[in-house]
Amino acid sequence: MNIPFYDILFYVFAALIVSSAAVMVFSRNVIYSAVGLLFAFFGVAAIYVLLGADFVAVAQILIYVGGILVLLIFGVMLSQKVTSVDIKNGAVQIVPAILVVGGVLFILIRVLLSTPWGAASGRNIQDVDLTAAVEPTTQQIGRLLMTEYLIPFEIVSVLLLGALIGAAFIARKDA
């Protein structure tokens, strides 16, 4: 009996991601939204692992959960008038939003499912064996960052420097 572990894991994590994102979007409490986002990030990291991207998965946890989410939660807490647990966060114009977003989703799925991916370069996506062993990616990513993608790497470093200085400057109190 061959249990398809890979498929079961994919569906479990996909369910986790979609339900957490739904909590994030439809909850009226901002902190619950943040916790929903947290589990969505973890789910996405798990899917990265299933796709063989080990370095990117751990980088996702480190940067998104350990950095961006902490920043978001601090932002929520520093922008409330009173320290109560009850932060209301309603939604406006729900019906037009559902129509538009539903339309976008429908179009996206139609296009994604009907396009013959890989036909132009001659690669057959059915040939890829997802459960095969994948070699570790860290060394390769490091090499690529230093050879082929050196210029984007340097630009992103300057961007981060600018973001660091800019955020620290914008957020200080005028004193």
């Binding site: 961006i68 922008s79 973001a163």
Partner: protein, 104 residues
Amino acid sequence: MSLTVGLHHFLVLSAILFSLGLYAVVTKRNAVTVLMGVELILNAANLNFIAFGRFLDTDLDGQIFSVFVIVTAAAAAAVALAIVLNLYERIKTVNLDEADSLAG
């Protein structure tokens, strides 16, 4: 679409994530929640990059792109939150409906 996982499953997952993020950006009034929606959209794009990288690429282009997307998202979130905090200092609320002094 079969039950065995293929490229299409990852693409549909990222499309659902994208539309949920889009709904949050369009509907919500709290500035920080709009930021969270933007992060969801970026995650959906990242998922797409890595899925295509796995299925269509021979080297790791998709993963390099995702690393850059993650880093850029971090920078964007930091600056956006600094702006939100500054906004809160001025108008004492983060409800986007009330940040309309430049309108009209």
